[in-house]
């Protein structure tokens, strides 16, 4: 983050100011450039203070959930803390989904909520709710501001907590009377520091043991996650060096895409439920798994007691509670992923001077992986007459090469196809709701990304169902000149729900067909954006080019085949080597697997 400005401090420390001004001073000192928000009664003093400030840009969303997702998109694409500002009561409850999303995906966000005046708290006042109570379990930490005097200090601590350790959302609930109350500013340097995020020092003997295992492994694999992205671009760089030095293959979770370049021959593709054949088989058959910033989520492990049964496991994570939570590991390294990978790399290089690593040890393994790769698990049967969703993503990828591209997604089939067929070579380019699986995430997240990168090409790969959950943010995009591109794979179904119904519930498509879809082209025009529809493969390329060239928000209605399924697939309750490729029958999923969702 930007360093505190000294002149700002002396100027503001001298005079007593209302709490609302102190809040904005603190945000400024924390380097906040953009706030995503929605005004209301309990934050009016803050909005009044914003009125006179040019230093902070405010983007008016159309629903508070959108403010949080936009702040997440901003945070994920920049590595900075995203900031949202919403009012009390319904403003705060609408923000809950975004907070929970940021918590599960470890995204640094600070959310400011207004609260009724302290004298009214507990009286069921208008637009009152127990915001700190409601958000306690969906934030990393939250505060009910006690006084204007302590407010700026609290804001600094909130940013410290949001960005350090395992990042996450922090909420500050500010009663309206405190927004008016006058007090002196506390600078970041003088703010309360209670040492609440402690990262342990690197344990060299554990690094030695880890590198021992790595030197002797015959079937090693790096399994990386969102933690590598959160550890900053330097960590992604170190991962590349470590993979180059060791020659080990790399796979990644949905959250970690981009940390390792998809163009590298050691790249196995995404792993997990809809991951590649080579990635999942490598995970299953490896003798050494090096998990870095990944948390052995159920979408990754499949059936736990059949998960990578013959491997030693090294787990690098900044959160001690992730260690041994789902899968027991042999060596646990708690700390920053970048620093630990660097220590591993240093140790590896030191040993390389004594004795060069015998690449023959792993050559058989790499051959085996190439065998799996030849299976081409992401392939699909293309069509000459109708647009296949996978084809649409492939074309989108091909036509955006060489451009400054950021991709967000909603949740469902389109999200998986995007992860499979759109490839990332850099971190912070891929914004998707992994942990909470929030439909409606992608459009507002794209808004946040575009606000941070005004000249970039920001595309939300969406589904026709998801996109309608936060469609109103088109209005915000138009108002603030944020030319986001919403690329809708329109199959007129809640695609992933339909796929599961086909797989698990006898093809009884209970309420998963979205009848009465809006005309997305007309809808775009109604919002003041630009609408495009593509229905055949022939016209797709030209239409995508049109989308890229239009300098305003675009709704792209890409009409795709309706009953396409996402393959390969590890059904819930199955092991990594029990993947499905297409012709599945209902009996292929166990009763227990059905419960696992």
């Amino acid at each position: 983050m930007t360093a505190p400005e000294a002149k700002q401090e002396t100027k503001t420390a001298a005079i007593a100011k209302p709490g609302a001004e102190l809040l904005l001073d603190a945000l400024e000192e924390q380097g906040v450039e953009v706030i995503f928000g929605y005004p209301g009664g309990a934050v009016l003093p803050i909005y009044d203070a914003l009125h006179g400030r040019d230093s902070i840009r405010h983007i008016l969303v159309r629903h508070e959930q959108g403010a949080l997702h936009a702040a997440e998109g901003y945070a994920r694409s920049t590595g900075k803390v995203g900031v949202a500002l919403v009012t009390s009561g319904p403003g705060a409850t609408n923000a809950v989904t975004g907070l929970a999303d940021a918590l599960l995906d470890s995204i640094p966000v600070v959310c400011i909520t207004g609260q009724v005046a302290r004298a009214l708290i507990g009286t069921d006042a208008f637009q009152e709710c127990d915001t700190t109570g409601i958000t306690r379990s969906c934030t990393k930490h939250n505060y009910l501001a006690e006084s204007a005097h302590s407010l700026s200090s609290t804001v600094h601590e909130a940013f410290h907590i949001a960005r350090n350790g395992r990042p996450g959302p922090v909420l500050i609930d500010i009663p309206k009377d405190i927004q008016f109350q006058k007090a002196h500013y506390t600078s970041r340097a003088n703010a309360r520091n209670r040492n609440c995020i402690v990262t342990p020092d690197i344990n060299q003997s554990l690094i030695d043991q880890a590198v021992d295992l790595m030197r002797y492994a015959r079937r090693p694999v790096f399994y990386t996650g969102g933690g590598v992205i959160n550890a900053g671009p330097g960590a992604s760089e170190t991962l590349r060096k470590l993979a180059a030095a060791t020659g080990f293959p790399v796979t990644s979770t949905l959250m970690g895409l981009g940390a390792f370049p998809a163009s590298d021959p050691k790249w196995l593709g995404m792993l997990g439920m809809h991951g590649s054949y080579e990635a999942n088989n490598a995970m299953h058959d490896c003798d050494l798994m090096i998990a870095i910033g990944a948390r052995f989520d159920d979408r990754i492990t499949g059936r736990l007691d059949a998960f990578s049964p013959n491997s030693r496991k090294i787990h690098v994570d900044i959160d001690p509670s992730s260690i041994n939570k789902n899968v027991p590991v042999d060596i646990a390294l708690v700390g920053d992923a970048g620093a630990i990978m660097q220590a591993m790399l240093n140790e590896w290089r030191r040993r390389e001077q004594d004795e060069v690593h015998d690449k023959e040890r792993i050559s058989g393994w790499l051959d085996q992986i190439d065998g799996w790769r030849a299976r081409k698990s992401f392939q699909y049967a293309n069509s000459k007459t109708a647009i296949k969703p996978q084809y649409a993503i492939e074309r989108l990828y091909a036509l955006t090469r060489g451009k400054d591209v950021y991709i967000s997604t909603e949740v469902g089939q389109h999200q998986m196809w995007a992860a499979q067929h759109f490839h990332f070579d850099e971190p912070n380019r891929w914004m998707t709701s992994g942990g909470l699986g929030t439909m409606g995430y992608g459009l507002p997240a794209a808004l946040g990304v575009q606000a941070a990168h005004p000249d970039a090409l920001v595309i939300d790969i969406a589904g026709d169902a998801s996109v309608q959950m936060t469609m109103q943010e088109m209005s915000a995009a138009v108002q603030h000149n944020l030319p986001i591109k919403i690329f809708i794979l329109n199959n007129a179904y809640l695609g992933m729900v339909r796929q599961w119904q086909e797989l698990l519930h006898g093809g009884r498509y209970s309420h998963s067909y979205s009848d009465s879809l809006p005309d997305f082209v007309k809808l775009a025009e109604a919002y003041g954006g630009h609408g495009i529809r593509a229905t055949t493969p022939d016209e797709l390329d030209a239409k995508i080019q049109e989308m890229i060239s239009v300098n305003k928000p675009v709704l792209f209605d890409c009409v795709v085949t309706q009953e396409e399924n996402v393959f390969p697939m590890i059904p819930s309750g199955a092991a990594h080597n029990e993947m499905l490729f297409g012709e599945f029958t209902e009996g292929s999923v166990s009763e227990q697997g059905k419960i696992l969702v």
């Binding site: 306690r136 736990l304 049964p309 013959n310 001690p320």
Partner: protein
């Protein structure tokens, strides 16, 4: 093909839900700030752990720290999770597994009301004497005893009072501290 009937081929020790369920006493040192108790209790319930007893009070007035003593049960893996999860909370300073120390002291205080007459009164008095329970209040038909000790001792006293007109029990929950000069 169900998860349960396939034996694990694991080369590492599987601790997940394996091993004996044991009872632990955790001392959680926290900043005494609004909502901290709710955070600790909410975390334990949200993750599906049970609380058998809970005691809390400010113990360091200058540093504004409180000591929360939680008694809970679980397999070794689960207990490690509880400790790690509690350690993640911002106002939590330290989590001490008191039961992992062999030399920890454990005490609980109970107030026990017994309503009875005649022979039962004498027997209650006699047993209270053996257990070193003090009568805090007495009427012609009732006693309120104060008893301190381990949970086993208090259980035993309550059991003995049942046939003698046990009417009401109030307990503090477990407190614990390490023996000797060292501090946690």
């Amino acid at each position: 093909m169900t998860a349960s009937n396939a034996p694990s081929q694991s080369v590492y020790p599987v601790t997940r839900d394996e091993g004996d369920v044991r009872e632990v006493i955790l001392a959680v040192i926290v900043d005494n700030e609004p909502g901290v108790l709710s955070r600790v209790v909410g975390l334990i319930s949200a993750r599906g752990y049970n609380i058998e007893s809970l005691t809390v009070a400010e113990t360091d007035v200058e540093k504004h720290t409180s000591r929360i003593t939680v008694v809970t049960r679980g397999t070794p893996g689960k207990i490690e999770q509880i400790k790690a999860q509690l350690g993640r909370l911002v106002p939590v300073r330290r989590v001490i597994d008191v039961t992992s120390e062999k030399d920890a002291l454990e005490r609980e205080l109970a107030l026990i009301k017994v309503v009875n007459e005649g022979e039962h009164r004498l027997e209650a008095m006699r047993l209270a004497d053996i257990f070193r329970a003090r009568a805090l209040d007495t009427t012609h038909t009732s006693f309120v005893f104060e008893i301190t000790g381990t949970r086993e001792k208090i259980h035993a006293f309550i059991d003995l009072m049942k046939p003698l007109g046990l009417s009401e029990v109030s307990r503090t929950g477990v407190l614990s501290i390490r023996r000797g000069a060292e501090r946690d």
